[in-house]
């Protein structure tokens, strides 16, 4: 091994976990006290401690999901192409395009299409009618007059309301979950990319003109599902690092990498806490010492678990030396 590499590697028995936890926990307490708020501006993405907690808890759905979609190499500097794809993927429903008014007396729905908006999306009134028909099946009678669609129904109020809600939710265009697509120019490379609220990788696979290999989302679970655990781990590192740097609390990336590794070590992204890392510890005593003491003790007794006392917590509980640091080494007699 080259000397520099040898010198840089950490010593055997170093308590890397505790040090990583402290290195992230100390700035974490700082963050509770002075999370950066911009007065008057609604926060678009949770920053600081809320976002950190979200990451460490491995939430299935982040409070504000965001995706960055890059274009294929040949169109990457083509703003028009970006615009086209953006309008294609943005999720639009009939409810977004039209105003739906219920008339319970006449038992009809008046659906007025916002032609200006619809044409910008390349949608005609006829398309709306077609989609409606698909959604309704054989129900009702549709009449069209310019941009006004009349739907005659022969049902009671409750059912009418249900139908109107159904129609409003009918997808006209785009990908479910993706909203507010904006085109952003990368000042460094000069290429355009689309930033879109929401996260839906599986549907984006089907869209042409997208460089799928460069797609990015801040939804770790989504990354895990489509690109695998390694990608999820890298995303975790990137996101946590970003949160800390944005707060002006730089943390050495190795601590973050260790935490991300620990969260991903069992093949899925697991939260740090009783449902994940701590709850998945091997030792009964260590689990019982953390949370839900009785649950762990009782379950251990049912299964007849045995604690080999290899971890830190267990050994402190029973009053033995911990197998760490100076306790790592042991002397043996020469035979």
């Amino acid at each position: 091994m080259p000397k520099i590499k040898q010198d840089s590697s950490i010593d055997a028995g170093e308590a890397v976990g505790i040090i990583a936890a402290q290195s992230l926990g100390e700035p974490g307490t700082q963050m509770t006290m002075r999370t950066f708020h911009y007065a008057g501006v609604a926060e678009q993405v949770p920053l600081g401690l809320p976002r950190l907690i979200e990451l460490v808890d491995a939430r299935r759905e982040p409070a504000k999901a965001l995706m960055d979609i890059y274009l294929e190499h040949e169109h990457r500097k083509d703003a028009k192409m970006a615009q086209k794809i953006a309008s294609e993927i943005e999720y639009v429903t009939i409810g977004d395009l039209c105003s739906v008014v219920e008339n319970f007396q006449k038992k009809e729905l008046r659906i007025t299409v916002d032609t200006e908006y619809a044409s910008s999306k390349g949608i005609k009134t006829a398309d709306v009618v077609k989609k409606m028909r698909e959604a309704l099946g054989k129900e009702g009678k549709i009449m069209t007059k310019k941009n006004l669609i009349m739907l005659r129904l022969n049902s009671n109020c409750q059912k009418m309301r249900k139908t109107s809600m159904k129609i409003r939710a009918v997808q006209m265009k785009g990908i479910r979950g993706l909203a507010r697509a904006t085109i952003i120019k990368d000042e460094k490379t000069g290429e355009y990319f689309i930033r879109v609220g929401g996260s839906n990788i599986s549907e984006l696979k089907k869209v042409d003109g997208i460089d799928f290999s460069r797609i990015y989302t801040n939804n770790i679970r989504d990354i895990e599902k489509h690109f695998g655990i390694e990608a999820a781990r890298n995303a975790l590192v990137k996101e946590i690092k970003q949160v800390m740097d944005l707060q002006g609390l730089p943390v050495d990336i190795r601590h973050i990498m260790l935490i991300a590794d620990a969260m991903c070590a069992r093949g899925t992204v697991e939260p740090v806490g009783r449902h994940g890392l701590s709850g998945g510890k091997f030792s009964v005593l260590a689990r019982a010492a953390f949370e839900e003491t009785i649950k762990h003790l009782v379950n251990a007794s049912i299964r007849g678990e045995e604690d080999p006392l290899n971890g830190v917590t267990e050994n402190i509980i029973i009053g033995q030396t911990v197998k760490l640091g100076t306790g790592k080494v042991r002397l043996a007699m020469k035979e």
Partner: protein, 615 residues
């Protein structure tokens, strides 16, 4: 209300009227109602405890007569003229008139927060009064509380510092009572030579606070001194302390009574005889008088017996054939607690409410300022002594003035206590002129005047002076701000807090050391401290802190079934109560773990310990 009835333009606003929060009715002309109610109250036709508030937006008038509202007096203003006249003041001065008369005449009006904020318009000063004003502030000073009003130049300080100063003033030592010699307070401090401040306020003297002061005027230099006054530490002049600066005495009283117990038994105050259960070392009883009570003016160390007492046994034992013997009685004396050094100041023998003999012993100890004692000015500037510097080592002025106290210049800018600086100037002026300086908020002597006066006495007007280093004798390169300011000694004295433990009592349940000074306890080595040691990999040290120095026990474990064993005294061997095995191993564990095993057993779970040789 009819549908068409719309409000005409210019018509008076209507309002819903509530009395003490309950709906009362409806009035067509809100402004008129409010005006009339206020007039009638001031005239005495309505109760003076009534206050009105009117909210134009919601169209609500609230009348309040309930208790618990904070109200404040104001001078009534009518037609742009305050009702309080020179004649009133003259009569008040002569004693021909009282405050209550003024209130009764409607000259003084009490407003609550709601009325103050809605219908009243209050002028701060007499010059500000216009036709619209309804009230006049008695003095701008009254916007603060009583305590802040006694601080000099509070209008030059930031408000958090005033809050802190108010809190600290309550902790200052002074002449707390003039009959202190006849009192037996359980704890009391008394300051030697308290002084009235050189810079005071009108309300300070009005409250007669200068008759029972709590502090002394210190010569203070704003100067760092070899790092001994960094981070809010202060350096005090040792020779000044020897001249009794900041000196105080601490009284602590112990008491006990001869209690009667059911069954006709009684405590007895006496020097216990050696055959009594729980008899202490003979040495500790040496200063007790014949009656078992300590003699006055005797020196006391911790654990010394102050009042000897013998009590009947706690549990009735089987009555011996010859009746209950004296030997069964137990020692129950009152002793001086840990860290209580002092001299017996006085002993009082009296009778309790129940008619028992009651003894109180007052201990006195001299508290000379030492490193760690806390001092504070009246501007929220507190600090503990970091060093007692010999006078010859302290800097001095050309006049030979040596400061009593050095504060660090870093204590000033971020806290914005300009009042502290101005008080120092004022104190200097007071010293030179032989009068006290008035530092009342808004109306005190102005900084410019103080500066001009300083100049007249031949000082630099900014209060700075050339100082000479006491150690080298050389001039200090910078001029140093030096002045006289009132400092308070606060009742946080190290000698009453200092506590150490090497070995000591442990808790009954956990076998871990006790907590707190009173129980001679240890300092907790908590979870986060434990985490740090793990982080360092200091394995042996964790074991020492958490086991060796805490609740180490030797457990007997059955090698056969893994349960905890017992020592069978009859058979003189260790056995397992579960499997009756005799192959037992001795294992070093924490007592807390033994407790955990017991608790797990109480859940109906059988924890087994598998023992073997250390690998």
């Amino acid at each position: 209300m009819a549908k068409k009835e719309k409000k005409e333009k210019g018509a008076p606003a209507r309002a819903v009227v509530y009395l003490n929060g309950m709906y009362l009715g409806f009035h067509e002309n809100a402004a008129q109602l409010v005006r009339e109610i206020v007039e009638k109250r001031q005239a005495g036709e309505l109760t003076r405890t009534l206050n009105v508030s009117y909210n134009e937006k919601t169209g609500e008038i609230h009348l309040n007569t309930s208790g618990g509202r904070i109200r404040r007096p104001y001078i009534v203003v009518r037609n742009g003229k305050p009702l309080l006249t020179k004649e009133h003041i003259e009569k008040l001065r002569k004693g021909e008139m009282s405050w209550d008369d003024l209130v009764a005449q409607g000259v003084i009006d009490y407003l609550d927060a709601e009325e103050e904020g809605s219908i009243a318009l209050i002028a701060m000063n007499e010059e500000d009064i216009t036709e619209e004003h309804t009230h006049l502030e008695i003095d701008p000073l009254s916007i603060t509380g009583v305590i802040v009003s006694t601080f000099p130049y509070p209008d030059h300080n930031s408000s958090p510092r005033l809050t802190m100063a108010s809190a600290m003033m309550k902790q200052s030592l002074g002449l707390y009572s003039v009959n202190f010699n006849h009192r037996l307070d359980s704890r009391a401090h008394l300051m030697f030579y308290p002084q009235a401040p050189l810079v005071n306020t009108t309300s300070y003297t009005a409250l007669n606070y200068d008759k029972r002061p709590a502090g002394q005027n210190f010569v203070v230099a704003v100067l760092s001194y070899y790092g001994y006054n960094m981070s809010d530490a202060v350096v005090l002049n040792k020779n000044a302390i020897d001249r009794a600066l900041g000196r105080s005495v601490f009284f602590k009283s112990y008491e006990t009574e001869e209690r009667r117990y059911p069954g006709g038994q009684k405590d007895k105050l006496m020097t216990p005889s050696p055959n009594i259960v729980g008899y202490r070392e003979e040495e500790l009883y040496r200063n007790l008088d014949e009656d078992g009570i300590i003699l006055p003016e005797v020196e006391i160390k911790p654990r010394d017996v102050l009042i000897g007492k013998v009590s009947p046994p706690r549990f009735m034992e089987e009555v011996a054939t010859f009746g209950i013997t004296e030997e069964k009685r137990r020692e129950n004396s009152i002793t001086a607690k840990g860290g209580d050094y002092g001299i017996v100041d006085s002993v009082m023998v009296t009778e309790s409410l129940a008619g028992n003999k009651l003894v109180k012993v007052k201990l006195r100890s001299l508290k000379i300022p030492e490193v760690g004692d806390k001092f504070a000015s009246r501007h929220g500037q507190k600090g503990v002594i970091g060093y007692l510097a010999p006078q010859e080592d302290l800097p001095f002025t050309k006049d030979g003035i040596v400061p009593d106290l050095l504060i660090n210049p870093h204590a000033i800018p971020s806290r914005m206590t300009a009042g502290h600086i101005i008080e120092m100037l004022g104190g200097k002026v007071a010293c030179m002129s032989g009068r006290t300086v008035n530092g009342t908020m808004f109306s005190g002597e102005k900084e410019q005047d103080l500066r001009a006066e300083l100049k007249r006495y031949g000082f630099q007007e900014n209060g700075e002076e050339i100082l000479y280093d006491g150690i080298t004798g050389q001039k200090l390169k910078a001029t140093i701000f030096i002045g006289v300011i009132y400092y308070q000694k606060l009742h946080h004295l190290v000698s009453n807090k200092m506590h150490v433990r090497s070995r000591g009592p442990v808790q009954l349940l956990t076998h871990q050391p006790t907590e707190g000074k009173a129980r001679e306890g240890g300092l907790r080595f908590g979870e986060m401290e434990r985490d740090c040691l793990i982080g360092y990999g200091a394995t042996q040290l964790i074991k020492e802190r958490l086991l060796e120095e805490s609740d180490k026990t030797i457990a007997i474990v059955c090698a056969n079934c893994g349960s905890l064993g017992v020592y069978d005294f009859a058979k003189r061997r260790e056995t397992c109560p579960v499997c009756k095995g005799t192959r037992m191993e001795r294992v070093e564990i924490s007592y807390a773990f033994k407790l955990l095993l017991d608790e797990i057993k109480s859940l109906g779970i059988f924890p087994r310990l598998k023992v073997g040789d250390k690998k």
